[in-house]
């Protein structure tokens, strides 16, 4: 158990060092080599992680790069492609490495040597689960009450009501968790 916690801990430290190192690289060939190495190292489940990276991380980086390159091309410059390619490659490689490592690490186990962090993580995740259920039920309720698809105004108005309910629930949960912790001797 302690060995597994230490392994998760070491994996997180190695990942943090790796992403900071990668974030300093601007050479496209080095970035592509790093990406290839990450792909080989984390080949199990790589397709799923790559699909998630392409769906979540690639659009903003690609969008900003295209807008910028187009703007510079239209305003008379001849912008080089390599720095934009390096920016995109760096963003994708770091995201791929992060998601691959974090899928393999048990965050709760890695946080075990730090009791406060560990407790905070458990409390946050439990509350997120409870509050998300309420938010999902509210969204489904809104959809079932309307004959049409909810528009901006409908969702905005219901978001206020949902937030008020979430706040009331989160305050109640916090009070209950606090009392439970105090009764177990935490100070």
């Amino acid at each position: 158990m302690r060995n597994e916690a230490r392994r998760s801990h070491l994996a997180l430290v190695a990942w943090a060092v790796a992403v900071f190192t990668l974030s300093a690289i601007s050479d496209l060939r080095l970035l592509l080599l790093s990406g290839l190495a990450a792909l080989l190292l984390f080949r199990r489940g790589a397709a799923r992680v790559a699909a998630r990276v392409l769906a979540v991380v690639a659009p903003p980086a690609l969008g900003l790069s295209l807008v910028s390159w187009g703007w510079l091309a239209v305003t008379g410059g001849n912008p080089p492609v390599a720095p934009y390619a390096a920016l995109l490659a760096r963003t994708l490689v770091i995201a791929f490495l992060s998601l691959s490592v974090l899928r393999r690490v048990d965050l709760l186990r890695a946080a075990a040597p730090f009791p406060t962090v560990s407790r905070l993580l458990v409390l946050c995740l439990a509350q997120i689960h409870a509050l998300r259920r309420l938010a999902t039920e509210s969204a489904l309720g809104l959809r079932s009450r309307l004959a049409r698809r909810p528009g901006t105004r409908d969702v905005l108005r219901s978001s206020g009501a949902v937030t008020a309910s979430l706040l009331a629930l989160s305050v109640r949960n916090a009070r209950e968790a606090g009392e439970a912790m105090r009764s177990r001797g935490f100070h």
Partner: protein
């Protein structure tokens, strides 16, 4: 809205981490107090609240949707220090669990989205609250969004100035790409959301209790 990993070099991200660490310690002590049994559940609950609110997608014309920040509400209800701690934890959870945002840029994102935005929202609420609560709530949401967007655009512009081969997007392009959606759509939606939420909390008599 977040800056993803890879957009900023360690020349910016490491000093940002260095600045964020003492700020987190100060804000946690100021906002939540020293007792773990009292502070941890409140931090956890408010962080979860901010996390879930940021998942509420608002449909906008054109078939797409935007998500709210919700930190202006937190800043108005609990103060900027609490909003800073909770938003930073939300960003950390999003980076570690969902792969959104990033670890190297956590300091920058936390300061821009968690400290500068909520501080601007709180100042607007304090300055305009006596005139009209509705105007103050809208201004808090709108201004908080503009302050966060501007801070992130300026940091990205600074990265371009430090090393254009690392960040080839010029500052003026980043400024336009960040501020046009923020000034036109995102800020207005965040302002309306803040107005709606605070009005409901006041109606349910929860505002004073919070």
């Amino acid at each position: 809205m977040h800056v993803p990993d890879g957009f900023l070099s360690p020349r910016i991200t490491l000093p940002a981490w260095g600045a964020a660490l003492p700020l987190w310690a100060w804000a946690a002590r100021r906002g939540f107090g020293p007792s773990a049994a009292d502070s941890l559940p409140v931090v956890g609950s408010l962080t979860a609240l901010a996390f879930v609110v940021q998942g509420l997608a608002i449909p906008v014309p054109g078939g797409t949707s935007v998500h709210l920040l919700g930190v202006a509400v937190l800043a108005v209800l609990r103060g900027p220090a609490v909003a800073f701690v909770c938003e930073s934890l939300v960003l950390a959870l999003q980076a570690l669990i969902l792969g959104v945002g990033g670890f190297t840029v956590l300091g920058v994102n936390s300061i821009a989205l968690g400290l500068i935005g909520p501080a601007a929202a709180w100042l607007a609420w304090k300055a305009l609250g006596r005139l009209s609560p509705v105007v103050a709530a809208f201004a808090a949401g709108w201004l908080g969004m503009q302050a966060s967007s501007l801070a992130l655009a300026l940091v990205l512009g600074l990265q371009h100035r430090i090393d254009p081969s690392y960040m080839p997007v010029p500052g003026r392009v980043t400024l336009l790409a960040m501020m046009v959606p923020s000034l036109t759509a995102l800020g207005v939606l965040e302002g309306l959301y803040t107005v709606a939420t605070l009005a409901l909390l006041r109606k349910a008599r929860l505002l004073r209790a919070e």
